[in-house]
Amino acid sequence: MMIAIRHFDSILEALDGGIQDLPFITMSHAGSSPPSTTCTFAEFLASAEAFAHLFQSHGIQRGDRIVLIMEQDVPLMASFVGAMLLGAVPTILAFPTFKIDPSKYRSGLHGVTRNIGARLVAIDAQFPEDLKAQIALTRDTEVIQTSEPPRPAPSKIKWANPSPDDVAFIQHSAGTTGLQKGVALSHAAVLNQLRHLAERLQLREEDRIVSWLPLYHDMGLIACFILPLLFRVHIVMQSPTDWVLRPASMLQLASDFRCTLCWIPNFAFQFLAQRVTDEDKAGLKLDSLRAVINCSEPVRTQSMQAFYDAYQTCGVSWTALHSSYAMAENTFAVTQTTIGESVPVRTIWADRSAFQSHSLIEARKPEDDAAVPFASSGRCLSNNSVRIVSADGSELEDGRVGEIAVHSDSMFDGYFNRPDLSEEVLKDEWYFTRDVGFILDGHVFVVGRKDDVIIIGGRNFYPQDIEEIVSRHSAIHAGRTVAFGLYSEEMGTNDLMIIAEVNDPAILVQRIEIEAEIRRSVVAEIGATPKRVHVVPPKWIIKSSAGKPARSATREKFLSENS
């Protein structure tokens, strides 16, 4: 049955009352017995109240910011809601991996807590011991390690009564930890977004969402936690680590629990097509999936086709393959393809040279040699509008490629404590995304980025952050490095490429060692693995007229020499 979409003033109002005893979160624990545990909505709320009580005992009050760093499990979600019950403002940061350099982790965390003025950082019992000693912060920020589960609240917690304009929570957007921007979202923005999204998805009471997506990412947090939280939809969740090690496990969960909805980035469509063995595929029944939504990276027709080819025998249909264009700054989705259309993700073919040289979409037939495909991300949700804007700020007509600007009633209030950054991107209530795309017949197509942001597996990296890490190597000429993304047809996402100039040509005999050291430090600081680190002699990198490394020209030089 379709869910009746009601109006609420705050997220908390939506949590109060209603049906309490249905399954809310099923958490998969691969290799454990039992292999999964399920809590009802009432049990989840009791756990959230226990966290609220714990936070209250540490002096947390309305408006205080709380940073949560926990493994992907029910306590992370319950503590998030627990903070909101007090009117406090939670934010989730990524759980540290073993690859991370402890001192970098410390300074990154310090940067985030200082920027949002966090009162409390809550870590769980699994937080690595060696890092724990590193994260003592300032006098203003207390670090607590929570037990699982926290002791039940001794009496009913008095829920806050936030107004629609109060900040509900903060999402952290792209950037190295510490330089990440805190996207502050009001209750009204979140509720508007979820109403429009539920309407477009034709959300039903019997829907069930399967997800491995990390909760520090908007797609994991909003689509796979806050949406089902608000509408009491059942979530079947696993940790990103379990999924990465055995991608088939997500499909097995979808099959076992007859899940209906899931969101994954473009690379995962291809990853699932390539990395699942026939043995793991046998017995999968995926016909219950009514929407598998491609989001967080530019949508590629080839990746959707690869997924369809791999899983049509398991019951996946074309009508179930969808796409969406979303960003934390808009709470989540701006567009979403329409449920029930025979081909929801429209692909158009356009002339390659008109696109590359004139930013113009001229229709071609797929069999044409000069044709390049673009996949739609669907139409705008209610109360969301998109404009395509030229470099001089004027609005472009359909079929012209330019920067995507968004206007909606689910927009962020600005980057927390960073009015300077907010001013750069918010103009007359339009958010300038720096994404590049075009509109055709009401469909939004996203083709890339205006700045050189590198999107790898749905995560955004700024090249300047990577170049700064590389520049610190003693053999490398500071400031003479270039990082860029190179789309990999095989992976369905970008490979990270790095070019670095040495100070002295004599040191090139140690090229292999230098490349290995750069590789190691990039992994330790940003967690992404370079596909190629190319150490080159002085003056190899092409400079702009301003004397800075020119990324695109250097990229072209690298490609012409390495094709």
């Binding site: 691969a30 379990d242 292999i512 490349e515 590789r519 992994v523 370079p530």
Partner: protein, 84 residues
Amino acid sequence: MDIETDALLAFIKEKLIKSRAAELTEDTPLVSSGLIDSFSLPQLLIQLEKITNSRIPTGRVSPQDFETVRRMMEVARRLGVRKA
């Protein structure tokens, strides 16, 4: 070194390594050094299971267990369930 370790090293060298690496041994760090990325872990897991003829329960292993070939072989011995 045993045959299983040799086979795993050969697979990593031929299929997964992304750079002109120095020598690869059973103690060479693989993930933290950036020689392989997390997208390669499923292939590595499948290969480890194939070589040791076992099934490894993923919930009980972490990416850190794939840091070296020696560690992977230990994990397979400790947690692998032999296939019939």
